[in-house]
């Protein structure tokens, strides 16, 4: 029987195993070694590997990211951790101007084996500066890989792959996923970057869903199945490089595509998927591609507004029904955002 652990434990296990395997790996960032350990994801690292391989930093995202680059150029493999992706904007210069250009401008002389982990998305009344996702911002930069693990197994396997990769990788982990559980092998697990995963097969429509939206898509799949509609849920897992073939193959089969991205849709990853499907599946599409994303606004705080801001399985159900041209099913009494009932903040 497969072992079941939480997403946070899976992330932690990837750190431990990669640090045991390769002494060049070190983990640093604000609060990685405090008593909370980034929601437990960096638990035990300082005890196991010492303060030279796991240490907290001042609140200096720009300089600390530059330091990661300097260390990566000098033979180490840094993992730089941020408890909120929003803080990474203070380091965007190092990412966009330095980290992603070093290899190209050196004519291939330099490699930048560097991982930036950041927690994204919805928490609990986090408002506009603790709630972003930003995968499209990072994926827009050539020279940077961007991954968004949804399942605990992918959280472990993709982080291990990111650490082993010789280029820079941004790993975005959704706050709400930390308590989700799933089967995760105890031993070494490396999930190749750039490969999508089909979370559920179906014949009627393809739903491409990232990060937390994949959880919503699976919920939508259950709801739709109760009325005989079978959707295929594809989790791209890696935003860049993008596994277009997996999505094209699926849409080729279903003829319909809904993109539910854990982000704003405008100029975002959802637009990239929609454009790709339009270019490569045009003749097979039975309906226009639909995009589901956050309201194109700063995130509000008040709970009802927050619920209105973030889409859920209900919108995915409606989008699929529209594409199929069927009557909307009754969703009265369906409890959305059930995770909220368990998550009591404050962070």
């Amino acid at each position: 029987m497969e072992r079941t652990i939480s997403y946070r434990e899976a992330v932690n296990e990837a750190h431990v195993q990669e640090m045991e395997r390769d002494e060049r790996v070190f983990v640093f960032g604000l609060d990685v070694d405090d008593h909370k350990r980034i929601y437990g994801s960096t638990a035990s690292l300082v005890e196991k590997f010492g303060p030279e391989r796991c240490f907290g930093t001042p609140i200096s995202e720009d300089a600390m990211t530059g330091m990661a680059l300097g260390a990566a150029l000098s033979g180490l493999r840094p993992v730089h951790v941020h408890i909120r992706v929003d803080f990474l904007l203070l380091a965007i210069n190092q990412i966009a101007n330095m980290i992603t250009t070093a290899k190209y401008m050196s004519g291939g002389d330099l490699e930048v084996p560097l991982v930036i982990r950041a927690v994204v998305g919805r928490g609990w009344g986090q408002s506009a500066q603790h709630s972003k996702s930003l995968q499209s911002v990072f994926a827009h930069l050539p020279g940077l890989k961007v991954v968004m693990p949804t399942t605990p197994a992918d959280a472990k396997g993709l982080l291990a792959a990111a650490i082993r990769d010789d280029g820079p990788v941004v790993v975005l982990e959704h706050r709400w996923l930390y308590d989700t559980k799933g089967p995760v092998p105890a031993g070494e697990l490396v999930v190749p970057l750039g490969k999508a995963r089909t979370l559920r097969s179906g014949r009627d429509a393809t739903v491409v869903a990232t990060s937390w939206m994949a959880v919503e898509a699976l919920r939508a799949a259950d709801l739709l199945a109760s009325r005989g509609v079978e959707i295929e849920v594809i989790d791209p897992r890696t935003i860049s490089p993008f596994d277009a073939d997996a999505i094209v193959d699926s849409v080729g089969k279903t003829g319909r595509c809904v993109v539910a991205d854990n982000d704003w849709s405008f100029c975002g990853f959802a637009a990239e998927v929609a454009a790709t499907v339009s270019e490569r599946c045009f003749g097979r599409l039975a309906a226009p591609v639909a995009r589901i994303g956050w309201a194109f606004l700063p995130c509000p705080t008040s709970r009802d507004l927050e619920n209105h801001y973030y889409p859920n399985a209900g919108q995915i159900v409606r989008a699929v029904e529209t594409q199929l041209g069927v009557e909307p099913m009754g969703l009265e009494g369906v409890d959305f955002y059930t995770y909220e009932n368990r998550f009591k903040g404050p962070f």
């Binding site: 930093t57 720009d62 600390m64 990566a72 150029l73 000098s74 180490l76 070093a102 050196s106 020279g143």
Partner: protein, 321 residues
């Protein structure tokens, strides 16, 4: 450290190589074959040559877009430099770096950057890796006084002091950030005065003598090895040429530069002064002319080599990505 003629001659040779390489750029720039913005180092040669003379080949250095001097002081690679300026495959960046990103990791110059201040924190990471390897080497960042206006400078200084990072920060203070004078940009008299409030070894010099700068750097690095505190060198110098481009910037009526400043620094020009010192020390004019002729030959050959070297094929666009 005692003065000796051989060493001084070598320092002069390196400065002369940098000065003449820059002047070669000026000579050929109008031909429009070097299609890369150049930020010339003319006037500041003593800093790169003096500091790099004190470094170990394995010390990891990062620099700025005004790094022709540091590049040559570190690598002597005039052939690679001109190849890169001409956008050729034989340049260290295979034509993808140009003047502003001139670097040579194999010679201990890891990266240079066209965004002010951005390479400073790399020295922390280089230092961190060196400490892990226990190799006794330091991370070195060259940056201008304009970079001290950037937040990342202060973040880096704070971290270096708080964690005793083995770094050498070299502030090349030419008094100008593009066209903005120091007094318009900083709310304190002197960066070295402020730096004395941090747990750093701090030294200031306005010498144009590379030997003195080398000696000072060696002394400071010795103190760093003793107690582990990082080093800040505040080295005043002067930029003769415009911020970017090849024009001598003596438009004193524009107001950002004063003629008496220029006269002051020109009278202590690092290359001329070193030459005079050598003559006074008994080196013959003939010997100096022979050394200078070898530099001319090498530069002329480097330019010719670069111009005849292959340009990248279009496939190269997608290579090394």
């Amino acid at each position: 450290m005692q003065r000796d003629i051989k060493h001084e001659l070598e320092l002069y040779r390196r400065m002369r190589l940098i000065r003449r390489a820059e002047e070669k750029i000026v000579e050929h720039y109008g031909e429009d074959e070097m299609k890369t913005p150049v930020h010339l180092y003319i006037g500041q040669e003593a800093v790169a040559v003096g500091v790099c003379d004190a470094l170990h080949p394995d010390d990891g250095v990062v620099g700025t877009y005004r790094s022709h001097g540091v590049y040559l002081a570190r690598s002597e690679d005039v052939e690679g430099m001109f190849a890169e300026l001409y956008g050729r495959t034989t340049g260290p960046g295979k034509g993808k770096a140009g003047s502003m990103h001139l670097a040579k990791p194999s010679a201990g110059l890891l990266m240079t950057s066209a965004v002010v201040g951005t390479t400073i924190p790399l020295a922390l990471g280089i230092a961190f890796a060196n400490r892990r390897k226990q190799n006794g080497r330091v991370g070195v960042a060259f940056f201008g006084d304009g970079a001290t206006n950037e937040g990342v400078f202060w973040e880096s200084v704070n971290f270096a002091a708080a964690r005793r990072m083995p770094v050498l920060f070299v502030c090349e203070d030419n008094g100008l950030a593009i066209h903005s004078r120091r007094e318009h940009r900083q709310g304190y008299r002197s960066i070295s005065e402020v730096m004395r409030g941090f747990d750093f070894h701090v030294a200031h010099s306005d010498s144009t003598d590379p030997w003195e700068i080398s000696k000072l750097t060696r002394e400071m690095l010795a103190r760093q090895r003793e107690d582990g505190l990082p080093v800040f060198l505040h080295l005043e110098c002067y930029r003769y040429v415009e911020h970017v481009g090849i024009r001598e910037d003596r438009d004193f009526h524009l107001g950002y530069r004063r003629s008496e400043e220029f006269e002051h620094w020109w009278s202590r020009d690092p290359v001329n002064s070193a030459r005079e010192r050598l003559l006074e020390s008994g080196v013959s004019a003939d010997d100096l002319r022979a050394l200078e002729a070898r530099i001319e030959e090498r530069l002329t050959r480097a330019v010719a080599l670069a111009r005849s070297a292959p340009l990248p094929t279009l496939d190269a666009l997608w290579e090394d990505a």
